[in-house]
Symmetry: C2
Subunit: 540 residues, 2 copies
């Protein structure tokens, strides 16, 4: 059998300990927050680009499809799972070297296994005056995995793909392709200019199945003299629309260079609590009165905007003034956090001891510190709490240390429509989504992120109880209805989970036909990640 022969060849290449097909391993890699996980045939763990080249050649010889993952923490979108059963996972987590770091030109070159926590620690330990852009997915997630999915973080470098300069890719032929200027012998400009000369290919290798990226150059943000975090809130739902419209010009003119996040009450509430099953009397979704109560307890309104200002002290002061002025005509409250304020609040919180006010203040200080640290590229798992909202067992005792929603059997599906950055579009999408969530018994968690100067990236979370088969069914139905609703409304998502890959080609679409042609040119056997953003989708 081809697979057995391939396994033999891989074992002779990598050794038994790096070719795994025991049941426990396969079970672990199949773990998913999603409702449709798949099971790999085996797991390979290469440690170098030449090993990846060799294992790809073996796959080609035997026609066995490969599914590369970095750390496999693509939570909410399919985790480590391939689009279909029986693909061989190439776990690149063992390739976790930081190959180069330049403080002068502010970049690093990383392998797929380099995690947020690792790079953040590396910069600190080596005293490099740069901040990593961090997502909310915690310290154990791969930077490259997220970048290749075109994920986004929080800082001015949050549009992560826009900060990539030079990729090394193993193609399905086993050849190595260096993009940008990297393929010119002796090039000294590879990491400072992404495009190179000739067709700019990097985009081809994001959200795709065209190759296995084994390293890339990543620009980092030099530390700034000053950093302020700000929180801005509105009490009532509709009041968020004018706030979006007031912030858009500041995002466009560079006053707000970081990726602002606009979260609804549930998004904040779920950060500190799980679904209060008893208090709600099992009612689904959360009763409106209880939601209001929790909102009040958290000291928030319907929406909270969170962002950061970077620059010299004078620049941050100018930005603060511009922000205050822009928000004046709206109903938004505005608070600035700096380190001095956090320290002071921390001391007061201690003084207040074990009182309600003391506990609340300390919790707020802790949240503030986490936000502050994340803006400086120190990742924190606490922003994953939403995934645990309906989990029967609640948050694990060691949360947020190394939170892993997939291994913790959380139920979570993400839907990520892109909207024009306008208050009206936010409200329209919300009006579309809320009844679907409620109809299926779910609470709508939503964040809208100002991922560039013109677009909001929505992330709607269907958080569900994976131990309740009926709820799993409802989650699937809710997701499906929601997905079709955003496609109908023209709010096409920027990223999808496995369950939607096959639903992206709406028929006779020349884009997907072009993708299929390019795929055939680079990977005629369909060896790498078949079904992943290739317009063909998975088996039904």
């Amino acid at each position: 059998m081809a697979a057995a022969e391939a396994l033999r060849a891989w074992r002779s290449l990598l050794g038994d300990e790096r070719v795994l097909d025991d049941a426990a391993t396969l079970h672990r890699y199949a773990a998913s927050t999603s409702s449709c996980s798949t099971r790999p045939l085996a797991v390979l763990r290469p440690r170098s680009t030449p090993e990846v080249q060799e294992l790809v050649r073996i796959a080609a010889a035997h026609g066995t499809p490969l599914y590369p993952i970095s750390t496999g923490r693509n939570w909410g979108y399919g985790d480590a799972c391939a689009p279909s059963d029986g693909q061989v996972i190439v776990d690149l987590g063992g390739m976790n070297r930081i190959l180069e770091a330049s403080a002068e030109l502010a970049y690093v070159v990383i392998e797929p296994g380099v995690t947020q926590g690792q790079l953040s620690a590396y910069l600190r330990e080596h005293g490099l005056p740069m901040w990593m852009d961090s997502t909310g997915a915690g310290p154990d997630t791969s930077l490259m995995g997220n970048i290749l999915e075109r994920g986004f973080g929080h800082s001015p470098y949050g549009n992560r793909f826009a900060n990539v300069a030079g990729m090394r890719i193993v193609l399905a032929s086993g050849e190595v392709l260096d993009t940008g200027f990297g393929h010119f012998p002796g090039a000294v400009n590879q990491r400072v200019f992404p495009y190179g000369i000739g067709p700019y290919l990097d985009g081809l290798f994001t959200q795709s199945s065209f190759g296995i990226v084994t390293s890339l150059g990543l620009w980092l943000m030099p530390k700034t003299e000053a950093l302020n975090h700000f929180l801005c809130g509105v009490a009532e739902h509709e009041d968020i629309a004018p706030v979006v419209d007031a912030l858009r010009p500041l995002r466009m003119d560079g006053t707000l260079r970081s990726i602002l996040h606009i979260g609804n009450d549930m998004r904040v509430i779920s950060g500190g609590a799980v679904y209060p099953r008893d208090k709600a009397g099992g009612a689904l979704p959360l009763p409106q009165a209880l939601r209001r109560e929790m909102r009040a307890a958290a000291g928030i309104g319907a929406w909270t905007v969170s962002g950061a200002l970077y620059g010299s002290k004078a620049q941050v002061a100018a930005a603060r003034a511009a922000l205050r002025k822009a928000l004046r005509p709206t109903r938004a409250s505005l608070r600035f956090l700096d380190e001095g304020k956090l320290d002071l609040a921390g001391r007061v919180g201690k003084l207040l001891g074990n009182t309600t006010a003391g506990r609340k203040l300390r919790a707020n200080v802790q949240l503030g510190r986490s936000l502050f640290e994340m803006n400086r590229g120190v990742p924190n798992g606490r922003f994953l709490a939403g995934a645990y909202w309906r989990r029967r067992a609640g948050l694990p005792p060691d949360f947020p240390e190394h939170a892993n929603p997939a291994q913790d059997n959380c139920g979570m599906l993400w839907v990520s429509p892109i909207l024009p950055m306008r208050g009206d579009d936010l409200l329209r999408l919300h009006r579309l989504a809320e009844p679907i969530f409620h109809k299926h018994g779910f609470d709508l968690f939503v964040t809208f992120s100002m991922i560039n100067e013109r677009a909001l990236g929505g992330v709607l979370t269907v958080a569900y109880d994976k131990e309740d088969a009926e709820e799993v069914e409802r989650a699937r139905a809710c997701y499906s209805e929601l997905f079709e609703a955003i496609m109908q409304a023209g709010y096409i998502p920027y990223r999808v989970g496995l369950q939607s890959m096959a639903r992206l080609d709406r028929g006779g679409d020349s884009y997907w036909q072009t993708v299929a042609r390019l795929k055939a040119a680079l990977d005629p056997q369909g060896l790498i990640a078949p079904g992943r953003y290739d317009g063909r989708g998975i088996k039904a």
Copy 2:
């Protein structure tokens, strides 16, 4: 004969007046500032995407290669010329509609023929509060043509390709491909998020031969409250290095959001004069003493840095302070221009009347105004003056109105290495280039532009007299030696002229092999712009 049949079919599609193959037309399209122009077989002038689709199908049926141009003003890099003789030029200049304009989301959708002057006027006439990014190539050049060559301008939107959202492309099959979200029926987010979902393809259609782009979304910069231009100069050559190193952190931290240009003395001198043949007694290059004299007359030193600050008044003030502080340890002078100062100087200039001081001040005011206007997206041909440096007839009487160096028979070749943004690299490249220019009897004109936060884009001009056959030969030799020198030193260029297309593949290069594979997948007959950045090059 296939070509004759194709011409007949095109004539029946477009009418006789839009299919041209008379000698005068072919001669006009063959005009080039370069030393190696090519002659087209014919020129087609479609007016719509469906016409482009149809003419591509005709080309496919008859196997006649097409060379699409926007306005054909790719000066210094080959102008309107195809990589080889006998290609059929598809002149898209007649497709010059501005299809959409949104002030709210700050973008336009343009066709290939839309020129800098046209868009600039459109914004002004419609009272749209946005600034176009302008290059120095004057009002008659195509925006799209420059974008697809990955050219750069001056403003914070100067990295032009990074501001494209959604392309419409006619493929060699005659099919239309909409990139980004544009291929989803009813998408409302096509112009606010370039990547779409799935592989991001736009990069494929820049510096390439993979398709004919017939429209694209272009983000524009919203007007800011304040705008300051600054000029910063150093007297001696070596003093520019610490200035680059002092400015780099400001470019990285967003204080300097625009593309700064660092020009040598010759670059500035050539803006107001042509080679003083008589005074130099025919000596080539310009004698050092005369160069010093012209430098003094222009009131400049060895290097001049030119850039702009954008934002609210407070932000611009903060940026000015940061700039002053950063430059303090260097030997640079620093001057700020705002509109008030220019008005005042203009009035003083008038008062001084026809004196030397009066003339000099008025010339400086005019230059200041042109720089200022360019920062606001009003293009000006005067920055093309360098092309006329060695032209026997000097500047045309109507210069800079509609300057056209190719039709004016200027000799100009551009070499555009990319450097890490470091003073040392600038000096190293200069040390490499200057002897080559002087050896061949040319003056080194050079600009280094801070095209992103980490790279300098050098533009070295070989300006030569096209009426002097011996000088043409020397220009060719100078270019060739220079090109090899930068490749050897690892300062790979971001863009090349026709004469270097074939020299980009240094042999056995997997990047160019990949490009060839992709080309074969999208254009198996090699119909579109064969030889253009495809690793195959032109016939020798």
